[in-house]
């Protein structure tokens, strides 16, 4: 079997597996639903997810350890992930292949030539990674200046530089330079409190192809197909702002019509990372012998645009293996030795470009945070799923894969569009109008699917504040507030209390105050009273309006009000449930009042957990009359309303 056939089988297998995991991430108990399927596996294999999290949290959470396997294989085999595994890469590969069918060979060769633009992806990677090293940098400055870790860090930085630049950076001159910069940074930390300024933010998820393809399939393609076949959900699922997710996904796919694998070659930060890691790979594509006739046929199907016929560009090669078979003279192989025509084994960035990219990355985070979203100007509309870590740590962990939004059985978890700024783009926030209910009390699905513990895998006991968590009380994600200007009983004297009814907390966080309010034009001039029937002289009442059980006749005497429930009414008479006491039926009585009994909802902030079921159920269907905002959320003491 040809090696390219094996590659195709591998691509189809992993793509099908990926789609299967997307479908299986459905909350439920059937075999095909979420019952231990490793639905995060592709995210966990992704070394960019792992490296990003490592930089921001100094740890590899749970399944992220899988990335080590990818790194090890890449160090040995080269950029195999792009050409053999990546589901997004396989999509590009297929579309690029389909688009180039029927093109003449010279056109194909031209479309697969190396372009300088392919360096862009390394700069993208640099900006994204350096945005997440802020934490390290601030630690460097925090540890009282000239700390003993500096030599180790110098070594680390040198080896990274060696991977990126063409010439070895492991020489004395660059070591001295790096040491000087680090010492200067540490020393600067002695004089100014820079650690407060430099901060980390994990933004790799914006362009990392694995979160991108998860997001696009789960939040765009599945809901789209489900609107017709309703397989993975009983009703239509809604996600906010999918236009942008869909636009990027479709644009990335369509760009293959211009340049095959446009995304992989020019933009993909994960491809860049793999390219750098594969620099010293033990096996590599290259010419194995003899003289090349220069026919360029090997370029005609080259997926990486790595010019295998010249000095092959190792970081660009995605191991598609097509050149092995397209070469008519069988000159190209996958060898343990270096290409006989020479090779370029590093992306060969310019030093200037590297410095600009790294400084932009480091500077971007403090720059974005001038908006105060992590400080006094925090947005109470950003309600994070239960178990979310504090916001700055959240932004250090979340990779915007939106697996939580996918799994949430009530569809309340939504990819954020603009509430938390560009840093929070596509991070999960709750919207209680979009979903099919609020956050369900007995559900912890989001925390258990989150691949990076931005939402911790909390237990039900912790969520509900039971057992060992009794002291902490239940986890709160926000607090409900009654909008008295919109609430039916508060603003319009109409009985309702749907919010109170649906509050799932025991005892209920929403309680009611009873109030009797005289209805509009409800002071009635009375006539004859006989038994339970009172005649009304003025005004005329709308017939059959007040017999609902919620209306009362109120008569006052000596400061004491006596009420009788209205059973029925005609335009000029009211039938009461019981007779009024005789002393209230004196001849000089001129009027009685027609009142409605209202139960006015109140929220007890000590009990409310912010689940939003009240907001979802509120019959004021537009802007709800009871709404949850993030005040009171457990993860930030400073957002608390409680004195405790």
């Amino acid at each position: 079997m040809k090696i390219t056939v094996v590659r195709r089988i591998s691509q189809i297998f992993f793509f099908a597996l990926f789609i299967w995991f997307c479908i299986a991430a459905t909350f439920g108990q059937s075999f095909w639903q979420l019952r231990g399927w490793p639905v995060n596996w592709f995210l966990q294999l992704d070394p960019l997810v792992a490296l990003g999290n490592l930089l921001t949290t100094r740890a590899l959470y749970s399944g992220l350890i899988w990335a080590v396997a990818t790194v090890v294989l890449t160090l040995i085999l080269g950029r195999f992930f792009c050409g053999w595994v990546c589901p997004f890469g396989s999509l590009h590969h297929f579309i690029g292949y389909a688009a180039s069918r029927g093109r003449r060979t010279p056109e194909k060769i031209a479309s697969n030539r190396y372009r300088h633009a392919q360096r862009i992806k390394y700069y993208v990677l640099m900006v994204l990674l350096f945005a997440s090293v802020g934490g390290f940098a601030s630690q460097l400055m925090d540890s009282a200046g000239l700390s003993p870790v500096i030599p180790f860090l110098v070594l680390l930085v040198l080896s990274i530089l060696a991977l990126i630049f063409r010439k070895s950076a492991l020489n004395l001159k660059s070591a001295v330079t790096v040491l000087f910069v680090m010492t200067a940074v540490s020393a600067a930390g002695l004089f100014a409190r820079l650690d407060g300024v430099v901060a980390a933010s994990l933004q790799t998820g914006l362009l990392d192809p694995i979160p991108l393809v998860y997001r696009s399939v789960n939040l765009v393609l599945l809901p789209l197909s489900d609107s017709a076949i309703q397989f993975t959900s009983a009703g239509q699922r809604h996600y906010e702002g999918t236009w942008l997710i869909a636009f990027i996904f479709v644009a990335a796919l369509l760009l293959n019509l211009i340049i095959p694998r446009f995304y992989c070659r020019i933009l993909c930060p994960l491809g860049a990372l793999h390219g750098i890691l594969g620099k010293y790979a033990l096996w590599r594509i290259g010419r194995k012998r003899g003289k090349c006739s220069g026919c360029h046929l090997c370029d005609s199907h080259c997926e990486g645009a790595c010019q295998p016929n010249e000095q092959i560009r190792i970081p660009e090669c995605v191991l598609c293996m097509n050149c092995i078979h397209t070469c008519r003279d069988d000159l190209i192989g996958y060898n343990t030795f270096r290409s006989t025509s020479g090779e370029i084994d590093s992306p060969n960035l310019s030093r200037r470009g590297f410095v600009i990219a790294s400084v932009s990355g480091i500077a971007a985070v403090p720059l974005l945070r001038i908006d105060g979203k992590l400080d006094r100007n925090w947005n109470p509309g950003v309600i994070r799923p239960p178990g979310s870590v504090p916001e700055s740590e959240f932004l250090n962990r979340c990779i915007k894969c939106d697996q939580c939004a996918r799994v949430c059985p009530t569809n309340v978890i939504q990819p954020d569009g603009s509430k938390s700024g560009i840093e929070g783009l596509w991070t999960p926030t709750l919207n209680f109008r979009a979903g099919s209910s609020g956050c369900q009390m007995n559900c912890t699905a989001c925390g258990h699917i989150c691949p990076t513990a931005a939402i911790r895998p909390i237990s039900l006991e912790e969520k509900l504040g039971r057992g060992p968590f009794e002291k902490n009380g239940p986890l709160r994600i926000g607090t409900a507030f009654v909008d008295r200007g919109r609430c039916l009983p508060w603003a319009m004297d109409k009985p309702c209390i749907v919010c109170q009814e649906n509050c799932p907390v025991s005892p209920k966080a929403i309680y009611v105050k009873e109030s009797f309010v005289t209805v509009r034009e409800g002071v009635l001039q009375t006539g004859k009273v006989s038994g339970t029937v009172v005649e009304i002289q003025k005004p005329l009442l709308p017939a059959d309006r007040f017999g609902t059980g919620d209306f009362f006749v109120a008569a006052e005497s000596g400061g004491i009000v006596t009420r009788r429930r209205v059973m029925a009414n005609a335009p000029s008479s009211i039938t009461m449930e019981q007779e009024l006491p005789p002393d209230l039926l004196r001849q000089d009585r001129k009027s009685i009042e027609l009142q409605v009994r209202l139960l006015l909802p109140q929220v007890d902030p000590e009990r409310c957990i912010g689940c939003g079921i009240c907001e979802h159920e509120c019959p004021v269907s537009g802007t709800r009359a009871i709404r949850v905002s993030a005040e009171g959320e457990s993860r930030h003491r400073k957002h608390s309303l409680s004195l405790k």
Partner: protein, 336 residues
């Protein structure tokens, strides 16, 4: 492309053949444009929305006349025993379910909460009723509800989904397509409103099974309020006049039998409950062919009278049943 270039005459001057073909094509274009303009021109714009009143459409009457109006009030802590004793007291399952009947069981699955909290119909009770129906020769049994919380979560967590499927009944999730707009004659609010009607297709018997629960707005949630789960749309607006609406529900649904579970009664924090301390051991099961009588008897367990629950009198007035359940000579026994 090449072919088209060939057709261009080398010298100026008109080519008759080419001209006629072009003229015919242009004419066809003119005719098409004219036809579109003529037939599709809309001089008035959209008409104002008119209330399209659907012709009144009632759900079938599922009551069994020969069973009579009866009520049984069974004492016992075991739901399975109680329901068996109760059905026996009403004349046995064969009185209600005939061979070949297609039975719909309307449960209360409103909340995604575990069965121990009694906010939903207990799964044991559902299994037993399904078993009895199938034993009596029912051709099929289906269980349905349109819950308040997320339907999948509700049926999973309440244990109802599992109980339904393991006992041989079909579970019907309230998909959007199962609702149709209906106008129920004699009601105040059920006008051109979405009703969970598809599960009723071909059904010959209807059994309602509900727990007895405290309910702040209406006073109590029992068998008549249980029909709220057959209503779709933004049904919460009916809370503004809930007593009249519950009467409407009792007008809409004429069940074969209702079963009210007061083995544990939720006396506080209803209808969601959420804690075992909201429940009281009342060890009573009420079965009746008269839903108003059943609810009036259930109110006693909540310590309420018909005066606290205006919907009872309204339902009686509408002819849905008898408020004075004692007049039906309740059969009171202990479960065995």
């Amino acid at each position: 492309m090449k072919k088209a270039i060939d057709k261009i005459p080398m010298e100026s001057g008109i080519n008759r053949r080419d001209f006629l073909i072009r003229a015919a094509k242009a004419g066809a274009g003119l005719a098409a444009a004219g036809a579109i303009g003529y037939f599709l021109h809309d001089p008035n714009g959209p008409a104002p929305a008119t209330a399209t009143e659907k012709s009144p459409l009632a759900l079938p009457d599922f009551s069994v006349p020969e069973a009579g109006r009866k009520i049984a009030i069974i004492t016992g802590a075991d739901r399975v025993k109680s329901v068996n004793t109760g059905i026996q007291a009403l004349g046995g399952i064969e009185t209600f379910i005939k061979k070949g009947d297609r039975v719909l069981v309307k449960v209360n699955a409103a909340f995604a909460s575990p069965p121990a909290l009694c906010a939903t119909t207990h799964p044991e009770l559902i299994s037993e009723v399904v078993r009895l129906c199938l034993k009596a020769g029912a051709a099929s049994v289906a269980v349905t509800d349109n819950p308040i919380n997320n339907p999948e979560s509700c049926f999973a967590l309440s244990g109802i989904g599992e109980a339904t499927q393991s006992s041989g009944a079909a579970l019907v999730l309230p998909r959007d397509t199962l609702f149709t707009n209906m106008t129920i004659p004699g009601t105040s609010f059920l006008k051109n409103w979405p009703i969970l009607s598809a599960p009723f297709k071909g059904i010959t018997k209807l059994i309602g099974i509900a727990p007895i629960k405290d309910h702040h707005r209406s006073g109590a949630s029992m068998s008549m309020k249980n029909w709220y789960g057959l209503v779709g749309g933004r049904r919460n607006i009916f809370h503004q006049d809930i007593h009249t609406f519950i009467r409407d529900l009792a007008i809409m649904v004429k069940p074969t039998m209702v079963i009210l579970d007061g083995t544990l009664t939720m006396i506080t924090n209803g209808p969601t409950g959420g804690s075992l301390s909201d429940l009281k051991k009342t060890e009573t099961m009420i079965l009746s062919t008269d839903q108003v009588a059943a609810d009036a008897a259930g109110a006693v367990l909540l310590g309420k009278t018909s005066g606290d629950l205006p919907f009872l009198a309204k339902a009686e007035q509408a002819g849905a049943g008898t408020l004075d359940f004692e007049s039906l000579n309740p059969i009171r026994t202990t479960a065995a």
